[in-house]
Amino acid sequence: MRMRCGCLSRAGWIAVNTFVEAARQRFFAFLVLLGAGMAGAGVYLRAFDFGGSELKFVADFGFGGMFLFGAILAVVLPAQVFFSEMDNRTALPLLARPVRRWEFLAGKFFGVWVLLGVFVVLLGCVLGVMLRLRAGELAVAAVETGREAPFLSEWGLVVFCLLQWLRLGVVAALGVVVCSFARSFLYAVVVTALAALVCQLRGMGQVAFAREDAAGWVRVLAGGAGRMVPDLQVFDLGVPLVLQPGGVAWEVVASAAGHGALYLPVLLGLGVWFFVDREI
């Protein structure tokens, strides 16, 4: 019991240090500002909207910013915190102590993941405020014109933010796997970004390659390859969750959450497996 507590404590301390180290980077602050600016600017860019629902346009813009900048953070931060330890040789004395390699890796991952959570919460708050303000204005206008007021669910936004946090966690876990065997920061970032892209396009790829008119071996290959990576598109439930009453069933939300949550230990396990025998 004491040993388990010790493991968690050591991993926890590494996570805390990783969190502080990553949060102090200007890169993080810059992307938070950029993402928040984008989430807030959606209201002022609605002139580009051609007749669709105004709230949907604003929300869509914010969701896009949340995932785009969040994904950049999730790709870059694990590599940055990992290779800063490697390049500065601080990993050597750390791992010479009674710190297991999985504790080191888990600490790095959870430190980054918590920071991604902070990012999602900040952007979610900005987006929520913008949506609530605009929905209020639209509701007043709707009463004046005798139309139906637009629907907005704050709880839906909370659930969506949790889903995005999981999604970014999966991307960060991919980054940890790549870092566990990569030899350079650039290689780790590029390979992780490509892996995230593949995960994002998995659903479309399976549809494109597994059509009925495709050759049998292509369909088998596409089916097998498609199963190898998590599907990040299943987390795209923002609009039905936030703007449509009963837009999506809870089992669909649970399915997406379960998909991400179960992939995390698999990916982290692979990362640890690559990392245990790595020469540092």
Partner: protein
């Protein structure tokens, strides 16, 4: 030693791939409902719509949340092609906009109209500029008919996706049938749908009755239908936003039917 390390890494990579495949198969049941939901609600994930956006597919996938603004830019690009009377560009970007954001009714409404009314003229002009001085009238009719059918298909799909605005779609379908296909019976049917669907266009009822009476010679049927329709306003089954009932009564009187002054809607 270096070779040995490399071979160890390769072995590990192969095993890791195997683990991922097994994990993927094992976890597929968890993510299936979410994947199926995406397949059913996101047209970009349907095989029939993939071809139109495959080139832009990467963007679509990466910027998952930016679909609305990307669709708007695609629509702008489609408009540029429309101004230049370029069918291929207009249709491609139109389809892209529709695939990215099928929730925007304007794309469906304008897309259907452009397809039915404008594109056949561009097609005829292109073919005539390609060497033939003047296309045969039968060929022109065929081209117009083909594009009109495509426009109708687009509008019908739009009506299914936007039931609250179905009346606008059916009204436009009727216009296409009337002005391009020259099929008044079919146009009348679309006007009837526009008058009877959710959030109806009341004037579509007059258009329907007029077509029945004047174009198809079924005046008695038109009168009976219009009376029944006006009756719904009298009984308050339909919301009278203005003087709809009075206007319908006026038309019925013009047609020579004395509509009894029934109880006024509460």
């Amino acid at each position: 030693m270096g070779v040995s390390l490399k071979s160890v890494f390769v072995c590990r990579a192969v095993v890791a791939g195997g683990v991922l495949v097994v994990a993927g198969w094992g976890l597929s049941w968890v993510g299936r409902p979410a994947g199926e939901w995406q397949g059913a609600h996101q047209p970009a994930f349907r095989a029939e719509s993939l071809e139109g956006v495959l080139g832009q597919g990467a963007l679509l996938g990466v910027f998952g949340g930016f679909r609305a603004i990307m669709a708007d830019f695609a629509w702008l690009r489609s408009y540029v092609s429309w101004e230049r009377c370029e069918r291929a560009g207009c249709e491609t970007f139109m389809r892209m906009a529709l695939t990215l954001d099928p929730g925007n009714a304007v794309f469906w409404l304008d897309g259907g109209y452009i397809t039915a009314f404008d594109m056949p003229h561009w097609e005829v002009r292109t073919r005539e500029a390609g060497g033939r001085l003047k296309l045969d009238a039968v060929v022109v009719r065929q081209i117009k008919g083909e594009y009109a059918r495509r426009g109708l298909a687009l509008l019908s799909t739009g009506a299914e996706r936007h039931p609250a605005r179905a009346a606008e779609f059916w009204e436009r379908c009727a216009m296409i049938c009337l002005n391009v296909l020259k099929e008044p019976e079919r146009a009348a049917e679309f006007y009837r749908r526009a008058a009877e669907c959710e959030n109806p266009k009341w004037y579509a009822s007059l258009a329907y009755a007029n077509l029945l009476a004047l174009e198809l010679g079924r005046k008695e049927e038109a009168r009976r239908w219009l009376e029944a329709y006006a009756e719904k306003f009298r009984r308050g089954e339909r919301r009278d936003t203005g003087r709809i009932r009075e206007l319908l009564d006026e038309v019925l009187r013009e047609w020579g039917t004395a509509t009894p002054p029934r109880t006024v809607r509460p």
